[in-house]
């Protein structure tokens, strides 16, 4: 089976406010089409790990492979390109650009990638919005829609460049149970229909138990 993401001997130390070994020898793989969740108590280092895996944080030792390509120690411009093309983000807080319309928010990463014409990008964005049943929001400003809708727009944005991996940082942490299950079903659907790989950090047991695999973390180590 193809491996999308592989971490080898990831270690990270915080120097401030006190020296602290936050991640200790992390090794794991995410296969293509796998829906994995990371669970653990607050402060166990799961978010820290997630930001390392997503290439936003480069201050660590160890090796990280995305689609079997070593991406540790690459230049920040190249990492930006990797994030743009291969990784889709969904955060706990919605993080849309509030002054732009929903459509513009979804289109922006594709415009940055600039592999398609503007018309193709717009068509893609519309089809992603349709898939998530929010095509009626297209022209609205991102600041004028509800929290559940924002999260779906964020998912549409994460999908716009057809990434290899979706990374979620408590994507349901700020949503009610109805919207949570909605988001879960979208993820499930993406995995099954599009063959996407997903890696989600969550506190929500119910959510985690429905995923393919739970990676349990404690004190900077993976225990299961």
């Amino acid at each position: 089976m193809d491996i999308v993401l592989e971490a080898k001997n990831i270690n990270k130390n915080f120097q401030k406010p006190v020296p602290f070994h936050v991640l200790k020898d992390i090794n794991f793989k995410i296969n293509k089409g796998e829906f994995a969740s990371i669970m653990g108590k607050s402060g166990c280092g799961k978010s820290t790990l997630l930001y390392i895996l997503s290439t936003l944080d480069t201050d660590y030792s160890g090796e990280l492979f995305l689609n079997n390509e070593l991406i540790s120690k690459k230049s920040s411009d190249y990492l930006s390109y990797i994030r743009n093309k291969h990784i889709g983000f969904v955060f706990q807080f919605h993080y849309l650009l509030s002054e732009f319309s929903v459509l513009e928010n979804v289109m922006l990463p594709a415009k940055k990638l600039a592999e398609k014409t503007l018309k193709e990008i717009e068509f893609d964005a519309m089809s992603k919005l349709k898939m998530l049943n929010i095509e009626h929001l297209t022209k609205k400003r991102a600041s004028r829609i509800s929290g559940g809708e924002k999260q779906r727009v964020a998912i549409a944005r994460a999908l716009i460049n057809n990434p290899s991996l979706i990374i979620g940082d408590e994507p349901t942490g700020n949503l009610d149970s109805h919207n949570s299950s909605n988001v879960f079903n979208i993820f499930r659907q993406l995995k099954e229909e599009e063959g996407l790989s997903l890696l989600v950090v969550t506190h929500d047991h119910e959510f985690a138990e429905k995923t393919d695999r739970i990676i349990q973390m404690e004190d900077g180590k993976i225990i299961t």
């Binding site: 978010s47 930001y51 390109y81 983000f89 993080y95 509030s98 002054e99 990463p109 600039a114």
Partner: protein
Amino acid sequence: MVNWSVILSIAKTHLLSKIKQTSTAAMGVMFGIGAYITLVSFMTGLNTMLDDLIINQTPHIHIYNEIKPSKKQPVDLYKETQNTFNIVHSIKPKLSQKKIHNALPIIQYLKTKKNIRGVIPQVKATIFYIAGSIELGGSLKGIHPLEEAKLFNLEDYVVKGTLQGLQQNNNGIILGKGIAEKMSLKVGNRIQISTINGDVFPLKIVGFYQSGIAEIDNIQSFVNLKTAQRIIGKSEDYITDINIKLHDISEAVSLSKKIENQFRVTAVDIETANAQFETGTSIRNLITYAVSITLLIVAGFGIYNILNMLIYEKMNDIAILKATGFSGIDVQLIFMSQAMIIGIVGGILGLLVGYLLAKFISTIPFETEALPTINTYPVNLDPMFFIIGISFALISTFLAGYLPSRKAKKIDPVKIIRGQ
């Protein structure tokens, strides 16, 4: 790879969504540049006018015969006392005539030189204006009226009558305005003047002269050169002053030295004669530029401030842009282009405002006795000021945008995303 259309569209959305702040910043630049253009064109306009006043009516080289003591007293020539310390008390000036020796040949010679635009002889004489039993001291200049007009703009200072009128009338006089007022005289009246020797001449007033300096207007009058020579009873070769105008004013110093050595006369160049005037000009220029640069720096700080605030407000946007694949450079360019758009818009508006204000100033009436030819405030709209203005707007907005945008480039998205 930089994708400009995306960057500019983000910058545009940011600017338009904060239109109040944007326009405040642009207005800061506008006022800075506008004030610079207005101030600099007005100040240099005044400066040029004052320069022209002096340069137009002042000879570039003035030749005359100075009355002064001999540099070598007889005792210095006496060999027996050569190695002793000599003191001579109450030295008197050397007896010589006021006229320039061989004036006419000198004039002829100077007129053949190519770098000299014009040479005019003058006769100066001390006289008295007679009003009944009162005698007023005065000074009379014998001139070639039309040549004076051509080279030294004398007609600008003839407030009534014309220099042609003087040229045509051998018994005519152009009288200082101050004397005319003291003696209640009008153009067409007659005035009697007397020489130091007591000879009295009646002259017909053909015009009034006003320099703007009361002390001069109270004593100075003009007659034809020949009339002046006749009044003081001298021949046609009696010339007390020769005024020279050059094509290139910068040659004045060297040429005056040459003339002094060649003809054994005193020759004073315009720079020596107007040293304090030069100082005034350079200090005025200094003040103009100091004030302008201050204005532009203040405008620059305004932009810096507003952009800084904008970046704090847009922390989330910056984090999300970086997380979704925009590089640090992209983010920096987004904010830089915002600063530059503010600079370009503000700068162009500033040029326009400055131009209109300067045009407006140039229509304000400005009448002063000192400057009879000026009716409105002088304004110098040099295209160079506009180039300097827009360049400064761009440079200062670039600098004001560079520092905050570099901060935006360095923002760590993880800190922002985790911080919430």
